[in-house]
Subunit: 368 residues, 4 copies
């Protein structure tokens, strides 16, 4: 199945394995006229790059993006943008011991069952390196959304049992855990240090806020904006849960408190007193901030001893060596932001013709 593409009008197709020749993405359907160079994309890739702190793998790759097509004289042309990141620091020998053994918490068993064989080096296609293509695609989407006045901010909300209690946007980039609360970042660091000493790992929660999105984006029924966001988020490797707005907390609430009363804002526009809905009602944006939350499971690659089986169906024990993050949440922050940006831009594009008068604006600019 062609499962490596995402989006209808703005569509990314990612490819590449952890220890193959490279990783990449083809971004198709990008509107023409967006200023775009490699220097615009690199900062996004740098946010997910390994080797940034003692909580991320030491794999020292620059992950340098090369734009192979789709731009001309510094602008997008509307044709597919192909972006290539060569793999440069591959230690294939590290992985030979797991060629026939199924790592707990990993996709090894599923791949072997489905395909009959797998590229076992570093997780192959199921490696976190696959997200490089998402981030490059998301960078283009996010740059385009900025031209429409729409901005995204993602950050770490929780690591293991440590949640943020304050929110200061400037703090996000000041600590390597991307937490907007310096105290929580400090506490989470201590927590991670303890886990590392025990050869264990942690999970966490990522939150993404979208500002400036107009009301009326998203489609009823199956192409609801939140449905596509849920798919986008759950398609990220370690994500096990997705919430919009109050999410699971809404399940325990009452209608009288969960409903957001409409009112008129200072700018004369319709707005809401509260935002329990997280900016989406009936699958369509309501003009409030989008609030998206993802649960990320603990890194499954841990060095402590685990029980498992091999391809022949024999019981085995395993310790996963190599370079592994004790928590992938900080590096996944930019990935969730990327997937949100791609989803939203695509929804804006597919929704342009929802009204006959919109068609007339584009195709009959001077009337007919």
């Amino acid at each position: 199945m062609a499962g490596s593409s995402f989006g209808t009008i703005f569509r990314i197709t990612t490819w590449g394995e952890s220890h193959g020749k490279g990783i990449g993405v083809v971004i198709d359907g990008c509107p023409a006229g967006l200023p775009l160079t490699e220097a615009d994309i690199q900062p996004f890739l740098d946010r997910r790059r390994p080797g940034q702190s003692r909580y991320t793998t030491l794999r020292a790759e620059a992950d340098q993006a090369e734009i192979l097509s789709g731009t001309f004289e510094g602008k997008t042309t509307g044709t597919p943008i192909s972006i290539l990141v060569r793999n440069t620091d591959q230690h294939s020998k590290d992985y030979s011991s797991i060629a026939d053994i199924y790592r707990p918490g990993h996709a090894d068993f599923g791949y072997d069952t489905k395909y009959g064989l797998r590229d076992y080096r570093g997780g192959g296609r199921s490696s976190g390196r696959e997200t490089i293509g998402r981030v490059a695609g998301g960078a283009v989407a996010e740059l385009l959304l900025r031209e429409l006045g729409i901005t995204l901010t993602a950050y770490t909300r929780q690591i293991g049992p440590v949640s943020i209690e304050t929110f200061d946007e400037k703090e996000i980039s000041r600590n390597r855990l991307y937490m907007p609360d310096p105290q929580a970042a400090e506490a989470a660091s201590h927590y991670l240090d303890g886990l590392m000493a025990e050869q264990d790992s942690a999970g966490g929660v990522i939150e993404c806020i979208v500002k400036g999105l107009p009301a009326g984006v998203g489609d009823p029924v199956f192409e609801k904006l939140d449905a596509n966001l849920a798919k986008a988020m759950m398609s990220i490797g370690a994500v096990k849960g997705v919430e919009i707005g109050d999410g699971f907390a809404a399940a325990a609430a009452c209608g009288s408190t969960n409903n957001d009363a409409f009112t008129i804002g200072a700018d004369g526009r319709i707005t809401k007193h509260t935002n329990h809905a997280g900016g989406i009602l009936g699958g369509i944006s309501d003009g409030s901030d989008l609030v998206i939350r993802c649960a990320v499971k603990p890194t499954p690659s841990i060095a402590s001893l685990q029980q498992t089986v091999d391809r022949e169906g024999q019981k085995q024990e395993i310790r996963i060596k190599g370079r592994h993050d004790p928590v992938i949440v900080p590096r996944a922050v930019v990935v969730t932001e990327a997937m949100a940006a791609i989803t939203i831009l695509d929804a804006l594009l597919v929704g342009m013709g929802a009204r006959l008068d919109n068609l007339q604006k584009i195709w009959c600019p001077k009337g007919h």
Copy 2:
């Protein structure tokens, strides 16, 4: 945007408004040879039918399904199965008062902004009646899955603050809340009685378990089985959160406890000691039970007074009259089951050609 279809090979397209002439679904891509009559579908529709208890709307519609195409001599033919349910109990006059007012927690404002007009009668397309098409489509999917030894069980796990503590599958159909724990069902009933007295409403959590699904179902990257399940669930009107396996609880766990150790089962097959993953690793089924959970927000239609605005941007107050469930969770149980069944059947169909030898089994049955 054509947002009323779901699925790639097995695809449903729903249509219809609450107070239009009817509601229906076209089920395309159903494999030929499945025994199917209206009597097979009706029990599924009856599970979501109104008027079943004092917690569901009194709208007394039989919601009788008519199969218009796609079967011959009692079997599916592989051609589209069109199913029609006529609307018979429409009280349009009940809704005239909300023609120009945006109900809090509803899609009214979004529809008006997006389309410039809306069918305001009973929520129009955003009505819960839209799910009739999903349930009919899900019935077909579920019947087909049974032929493959795959079964689904959905139930109410939580209503407001009341969660189940025991699980007895037989109890599910014994109480009108579809809870597998009779004590919890009792407590939830009391809770709902209290809310009804206050003209308020409740939300809850639905869980769906899938047994018998082989390992190797789902695709890597964007068409992960859990990604499509998340989209399927979040596309249901009032759902605000989706979890697979431990979901958000995994965010606070450690790798050493969250990883499920592989082992060899009594039948000699590879299995897992635990199932924190909820049956999916790396987007591909691992042979364990699928565990899917949805958060459902409280019914937004409440009779108590709410602040809102109208189409002209004037502040208004509103009391929502008419027939409304104080909790939609019990009726949504079968909807989540339907969406899970559709998603899984489609994943089975798109995954048939993952291996060259599978192609040979179907297209070169006697070798070549």
Copy 3:
């Protein structure tokens, strides 16, 4: 496979068999605000209705369209438009003799091989009645295109060996063969009378002209406007060839004569001296008239004796009784027009966001 849908943003899904309960279509993604009632659609269906002349089957069905959803107060709402036509004149007994025999030129053998069973009554899903759904969907598309100043005209260009030599648009609806040349229509009638006497049948060529389509519609590479038109046309039952502009004649031409020189029209816009290209260059409309041509094979149902085999692999002889058109070309004219309209409207919708400034026009109407 879900093969009964066509289109990306504006998408039709047809369903129904010749002798099932009915035939229908779900039209999803239709922009909101288009005036639409059953009376607007019926004239299109009447153009393909049987019983119009001695060259069409006597099956006397009104083929009355009922709109079940998607409109409110006479306008489209942006939600799916479900249209139902009940089958009323089914003579199933006519077809029992062909239950186990494969009719030459028909899909019987393919269906049986693919699905293992088939609804043999009147061709089941492969019946020409399937096109009712296309025509209803095309009617909606064509009505919407008119609002954008785009008009379609389809007609019979050739029947058997008789081709038109003159073109008078008014003539098209004056003869039952829909030919714009009354002399050709006369000659074709004689030709058909002769064939009927011999229990034989004829094919022909249909041409469709689209006026008013702006330049810049269609996408490069695989979603070229002509590629989608070719698929649209070839998906019609008896069509065996499709041409754009000069088509196969271009294969024998020279570049110097086949190239259309650009020039400036009286209105100051860029136009072409000639239109060998048929209005499409590189997959994108060039502002000239679209010219699409389809080859339709002779009606395969003929009463003269034919050799064939049955399901058991035994040789058989067959005479196809029942009501069959000696030529289906005239009734297929409106079907090609419908498919062209659907394809073009979809291309207009998917192409709205080709430029960043178009996105800004729709989503940031007052700047940002």
Copy 4:
């Protein structure tokens, strides 16, 4: 619009411009287990390579394919296969004179109108070099089809007015025009020499034959095998017409002669006496050879003087310099073969689940 992808389960996404950094394709959904190296793909690319004869451009590029992902130990893994061909012989200066002028017969005007800007170097995305990605993707499809006993043969049937009169498969690769008739190849060469002297160009007709395709492939209604083949062929740059079997000739035939009588073959299987249908009935393969024909227009780039206009709407004259084939038909032969292979493999994959018993064969191999 994301128009650079083709296929549902087996899907190719091409990218790249004539004078950008390279050209490539991502092949997603390829079944795992197919032996594949660069050496398997290169012969296909060599068939479309320039510089092969005096009738093809002198651009001397090796067009060497590099596989960047999707294979492991010499076999496909089921994950996306990314193939890169670097552009090495770019003479951008040749094209600066056409930056603001619309070449007749080219897509320049359409691109500018649609996107507001274009990469004018060598046609940019609309260059014939785009087909490199198709051919690489088609090579993989064709190699896989061979494993199923399905083979494709494409060749030049006509150049300008010169058609083949004999068919000897071995001749196809013996002359640089890929004609199976040496006399016709000789005559066509003379014809082309004459055109070159006059700075003119020719078109032609390509035919593709597919052998070994089982009956039952393709879907009814919109996903007919011939409908998808028509789209595939018409999406190739210069193609202006597509026929299946007798094609346009069928329009002038009678039912009694055009119908192919079924019979029992020497191997005991159902077959047909004749093959006017070209192997497809009702959109589904009938077990006979597929016969597909494409009309290719004359190369629009000619050195003789042409009238045109520029971006500012001023009339201009143009002579197109640079390296241009007087006929592209021979190099397009492998492109049509590639598109046919991709279309057929995809149809085989999407059709695997047409019957319940097929699902059981794959997912319940030992019964349930």
